[in-house]
Symmetry: C2
Subunit: 276 residues, 2 copies
């Protein structure tokens, strides 16, 4: 089974060196987006984004297993009335680095940020760029099949509740069990467009993306016991999802406060599992 997620507090540009080559099955991360403003989250200027990220992606290429997958959540900002090109240039540069640009999923954010401007609409989508080391990679499509038809909607809702209850006894097997109930009924493979609302949960710190998002990719690209890495851990959404699904996980985070908060909440969880 999986162990407690491991948190490394520091800059992933350095800390990644400690991880062994070919040791990670899946990388899911949402790096800080390019930001013109000064020092909000160590924001990187759009013009320097690619050169900032390339050394990191080089290390990610090293630590990923040959059949592993890298999912990069990113979206370009508007700079001077235009979409900035750093994401396009990053994809091209990462290919030259040796990555394969296998696919680009769209995350349709149903409740996107409000706003009205004279010459653009609200931005309701982000990129989920998939990179691989080889044409052959691990993928378990059946794990993310979705039920079709109205009768299944209630079924799906109850599954979400189970997932959220974080009952350790069901983790790992529970999800598959529920899925197996649908075998032989109407279920379909999803497409490369994901519809998910942003996190509405009331956390002290804002979650980067809803836990269902990394959970979806973890189920799709890993098996229980596999190793998941998030080099920009933040509040630990990816690590929580991995842990819930019985995967091992490593997170790297530069802000001390996030590291501490995650470690605390994880300890509470372990205790409630033992004594609760």
């Amino acid at each position: 089974m999986n162990t407690v997620p491991r948190v490394i507090c520091g800059d992933c540009a350095q800390e990644l060196h400690v991880l062994p080559t070919n040791s990670i099955d899946l990388i899911v991360t949402s790096p800080p987006y390019a930001d013109q403003r000064k020092q909000t989250y160590g924001g990187i200027h759009p013009d320097q984004y690619v050169e900032w990220f390339l050394p990191i992606s080089a290390e990610l290429l090293r630590v990923l297993k040959p059949e592993g997958t890298f999912i990069l959540n990113i979206k370009e900002r508007v700079v001077g009335g235009e979409r900035h090109t750093y994401v396009l240039k990053l994809i091209i540069a990462m290919r030259e680095q040796g990555w394969l640009w296998t696919e680009e999923f769209i995350w349709h954010k149903k409740n996107c940020y409000p706003g009205k401007w004279p010459n653009r609409f609200r931005d309701a989508w982000e990129r989920l760029v998939q990179f691989n080391k080889q044409k052959k990679f691990k993928m378990f499509q059946e794990e993310v099949m979705v039920p079709v038809g109205d009768w299944a909607k209630t079924r799906l809702r109850s599954l979400n509740d189970t997932d959220k209850s974080r009952d350790e006894s069901k983790v790992g097997s529970g999800f598959g069990k529920n899925i197996s109930n649908w075998v032989g009924r109407d279920k379909a493979y999803p497409s490369n467009v994901l519809h998910m609302a942003t996190e509405c949960a009331n956390r002290s710190h804002s979650a980067v993306f809803p836990e269902t998002l990394p959970a979806w990719f973890i189920r799709l690209f890993t098996e229980p016991g596999d190793m998941v890495l998030d080099p920009f851990m933040g509040s630990g959404t990816t690590l929580n999802a991995a842990n819930d699904l019985g995967r091992n996980a490593i997170g790297i985070e530069i802000h001390q406060i996030y590291c501490e908060q995650f470690t605390e909440s994880m300890q509470e969880r372990q205790q409630s599992m033992l004594f609760g």
Copy 2:
């Protein structure tokens, strides 16, 4: 009012020269997709796509009015298990040509062709890349407003404490300030994700987009009497939409058969309008 759409039969790389500079209000087009099998429908090889398109986009830049807009419907193919990078490179190259990359809309194709592959899901989205000549361009957002959901009915009934408290407590938000402005509003602005079903009928030509798609952009970016151009006319979806909306339109199409079919159907339409 608008006149009968004009069709130019020929290669747009040449035929665009006959159009006057700064004469087009909106360009909406879906160029032929890149194709490795160069035989079929004059497909362009992915590796040559950018160099093939750049002379055309240079002419489009010339004929477009300063406040006009260019909407390019495009999606990269999978080549050798990877998404090809010609679209990314094209956007970067067109910016160097003088275009502004203002926005990228996502067309979520609801009912696209089913299919299953070992390492990817159904491709359910395409890019609708918006280019402009200036930061200021014509845009009529009210024309594409969508009916508001049940949301407003219940929401506006009780505009009270919470909305105002957010104004005071939260930093820089001020959400509740003008909530009374919403009273009586029955329409909402869309986002940059468009949900439109595909017309799965004719698979022969690449331009399989539904008429609602060009119609949406024509309403958004032009006024009645304006001039719309589709340099890769195909069966004439864009021209039909423009004509229906009282806009003038020019289409360029290299395949004789499409030109003839469109001219015929347009004549029938004119006659039925006169005598029907």
